[in-house]
Symmetry: C2
Subunit: 694 residues, 2 copies
Amino acid sequence: MEKIIVCMTGAASLIAILFAVLKSMKVLKFDEGTDIMKKISQSVRKGANAYLNRQYRIVIIFFAVIFVILGVMAFLKLLTPYVPFAFLTGGFFSGLSGFIGMKIATASNARTANACREGLNKGLRVAFDAGSVMGFTVVGLGLLDITLWFFLLKFVFKLPDNEVTGAMLTFGMGASSMALFARVGGGIFTKAADVGADLVGKVEAGIPEDDPRNPAVIADNVGDNVGDVAGMGADLYESYVGSIISSCALGVSAYASFKAMALPMCIAAIGVLCSVIGTFFVRTKENASQKELLRALSKGTNLSAILIAVVSLPLVYFLLGKEHWHLYFAILAGLISGVLIGQSTEHYTSDSYKPTQNLAKSSETGTATIIISGLSVGMLSTLIPIIIVSICVLVAYFVSGGRDDGAHGLYGIALAAVGMLSTLGITLATDAYGPVADNAGGIAEMAKLDKSVRERTDALDSLGNTTAATGKGFAIGSAALTALALMASYIDKVKILPGGAEKIANLNINNPSVLIGLFIGACLPFVFAALTMNSVGRAAQSVVIEVRRQFKEIAGLMEGKADADYAKCVDLCTKSSLHEMILPTIVAVIVPVIVGMVLGCTGVVGMLAGATATGFLMAVFMSNSGGAWDNAKKYIESGHFGGKGSENHKAAVVGDTVGDPFKDTSGPSINILIKLLSMVSIVFAALIIKFSIL
Amino acid sequence: MEKIIVCMTGAASLIAILFAVLKSMKVLKFDEGTDIMKKISQSVRKGANAYLNRQYRIVIIFFAVIFVILGVMAFLKLLTPYVPFAFLTGGFFSGLSGFIGMKIATASNARTANACREGLNKGLRVAFDAGSVMGFTVVGLGLLDITLWFFLLKFVFKLPDNEVTGAMLTFGMGASSMALFARVGGGIFTKAADVGADLVGKVEAGIPEDDPRNPAVIADNVGDNVGDVAGMGADLYESYVGSIISSCALGVSAYASFKAMALPMCIAAIGVLCSVIGTFFVRTKENASQKELLRALSKGTNLSAILIAVVSLPLVYFLLGKEHWHLYFAILAGLISGVLIGQSTEHYTSDSYKPTQNLAKSSETGTATIIISGLSVGMLSTLIPIIIVSICVLVAYFVSGGRDDGAHGLYGIALAAVGMLSTLGITLATDAYGPVADNAGGIAEMAKLDKSVRERTDALDSLGNTTAATGKGFAIGSAALTALALMASYIDKVKILPGGAEKIANLNINNPSVLIGLFIGACLPFVFAALTMNSVGRAAQSVVIEVRRQFKEIAGLMEGKADADYAKCVDLCTKSSLHEMILPTIVAVIVPVIVGMVLGCTGVVGMLAGATATGFLMAVFMSNSGGAWDNAKKYIESGHFGGKGSENHKAAVVGDTVGDPFKDTSGPSINILIKLLSMVSIVFAALIIKFSIL
């Protein structure tokens, strides 16, 4: 049985990686187009590489420090000796996912633009194939990491099941830390470049978007890759791995059976295969409308989801038997919730629906009203996702027998997270496709390609905005479920540690340490959002000054006679975003330890619950406000309420600029924050049991 | 013993009311000034009266409906027969507090302006005396309500202590509902008028603030009175009464001794006397600087706080004996926290400190950056208050022996709330003084008084902004503590109801009903904020259209040859704000019942905890962002970063407009929401125990 599972997950992981390799070979066979296109693409690639290299250099220092700390703790018997190494591999694979995704994204932007010269369907295929490389690399490497450690701990070190899952849980901390660096650093980079390029280029100098005269234009394109691709990849790698290992751990403690541990791994493996099948159904006819394009993508995702739903039923029945086959509904609840949250996000942020259209209309009474309305759209949009997640949690808990045995119920919640994330391969493909299409549009503009090419890339890009919005909803929903599963794993873990059961006995919500933990946890996403927004502000400030300087000092730049110093802007964004990413990350790692030291393990649980609740709300609020402003602006640009250049448009541009750090930096970073908090808590559990005040 | 307590609280309540009467007679003796001043003041008075009359007419319907529902529930033995009547008196006294406060405020605005013609100190005295009437009416009526019911239930119906407190708890629901109407309705009115007046008058027509040609100028002044005075009064009446009765209830159940029930009432009584003494120390010399004015007000408040701190020590010792005198520190923790939260608010919102100065500076890079920075100032400003409240709760819990007996600890937390609110008489006086000074400035402008008069009222007004900010911090902090005490009372109440103990046994935070309750509760402040912001937007929209119409249609208005139709604008604000206040209130009343029906009592507790946590955070965030934007604009107007009329100023005006509904509608309403949720839960507890699904 154990061996079958290892083979199955191992095989699925290799299939995913192989599929990613084949797809990338296919993409790389396409031509990059004209010399100018090659040159631009080359600059973007160089910038993104330079950024990631320097980011990894900083991250290595962080990992080295934590590795030493964990090593000392392992030496003091506060951790098992595998933990420091598990931590490293988690970070390594997470970073690798982002790196590969970024590599292929930067390799395919010019190719997509070039393919669009031939037709829309070809462009879609190239961009979507590039996205697929990212999606399947993430799930492939995630499963590989899980398989390797499972094999090592189970067959080489021959540990019992609960110690296997205990050690595996900790590589999530490595993945989370890496993800936070990638999301925060990349998020600051992309928005600093974007805001800088827009404020000076579009507003002050009055040149169009993606104009090659704008010194920050390459940095802007680099930002899409390091933020939206590498950051998103690391984020979802982390949710994927976290949900699987935490449900393995909860399964072992609920059923004391290997089969309960095997189930999440099997679902993940099946998910990979169904996602691969789904990708083959993403294709569209020439001159497809926006709706048809979207339908092409949805067809692939939905098909994968249905396949998984069908195949998991016999799987659950086979693994858990007649008595427990109801757990299938937990998986199903997760799958369906993922789709519904995506639809809710679309409803609130797409200009096909009332909320964004009304938001665009509110620009008629000026900037203040569009800001107020945008904030209120985002706040209101939290209601439906929270109800979806609530119902999903309740269903998952009760169908898995939580009423009779709480541990069974918690396992059910974790399975719902696994169910939701089982389609990750293809969901992430449709999501990562967006920045590629966006970049392709930029290259088409800069290389002065035919207008029809830009129209095609615009169609792809606009679709990318929708998939990015639903992707964000999916990322937030899965992060919340994963965080809940990790919280349950934390409680489980503390209970089995020496002296832990007593420390965590009173989890009553009116126990003041739980309550205070809850208050502090609830506050963290607010503080984190503030810190990251300020970081974007400061970084953008420096870009603004540099772009202004180049416009002033480089003679002939505005006339197109001289080249802008793109590298300088890329370098500046790199420096300032890397500088700015350090404080938020340290906050996220240190706070759980401090809270634990003062309030004890019960305080930590309160903190995790509070952070998950407000983290989810803030992430939805900020992502959806940002998305709605962005699309309201585009709606006006497409000719409504006065169109481009009108006063309404100016008001909408301000809304969009406020929304930029909302949706691309702060909102997504909070996702990772809530998972990292639980991961850090799990790793430092023994330390806190020993030394906490309360 | 019981009789002494009744006499003591009764006497304190009468002293407060008498003091308020004396102060109002003193204020009314002053002259209203010139005929124009009288006429303007008359219009404001008329508008405010009209608004309140119509508000009360709607509120009466609501109260009648709920009264019938409660009556039916009492008939079905789901409630004691006193509850429906307690509900009515709570609403009545809360409304009366607001009404009296508004009456005196509208009677003293012209008098303050006129007093300022003679000197600054005299102006301060009149405005502060008017504020005192409000402050002492609130505490006087609050204590009166408590004394009457206590007398009735204890001496007439001769109920045992726990039933006395059980019935008294429910008049909080009446007070909360009334407060919510007052805060939401008044908040929408004041901001709709303000935004409408500013957008058309200041921005479009280019006439100065408070210009008599602006048709919305009277509505704007009316708004200050119905929102900032009547709303604030009802809000704090509710916190005051809620904290006292919930700590009485918790005291009885923790100590099973009347003395523990008597303590909070005695502290409240002492607080009244010490606050009265404090008011005598509020005076300043002529031509006092801003700092000296602030010092004059702080002297009164601080002196009261110190007096209370000194007198409570022997009181606690006498009532609870040597064994439990440590509870004194719970009261002290509350008192000190109130002061500290006020200071934190001042730090983040006053232009004497870095955050607001930096915010003003961020206007240099445009509107978007001042919005982003303002949001981030508000979010960051949640950290310190949450740490203060956390420490306060921990200290209160542990000094009162919570480690050995949780019930003792919860009583300690409730006492901290009583301690914080014990200075309410004078705190509210300094707070309610603000709108009076603001109105006085408006009247000075409209009546074209000498420039020196406007300078003096400006000095008073600017001080009012600071006291309003600290007052808001105080209101939020006390609301959070009161909500926690009410949550504990709810748990207590459910436990003693038939079948309740079992229903509420599992309050573990990882029990999914608690967790889901937490999620939904955490979401409510977001939804509530969105609803109220949208309401302001819609109401302001209608004012904008009306003001534009008047400018266009009334010939000679702009030249000052014709009068604007002020009454129309007041009427419009009244109609739309009353219309808009209904939905949020119904949401607040119905949601706890629905959550209870679905998730059971444990879900309700989770909801209360979640709503208190995010409600506190959102209220601080929104109030402080709004305050910081307001003062950043004023800072620029005072000549920094380009001064009035510059591009920076325009950006700051947008920030201020966004901040208006933040700080004066949504933020303060959330305060009441979190208390009302617990009150409704308490009243419907028996129903939910009987009929809930989980």
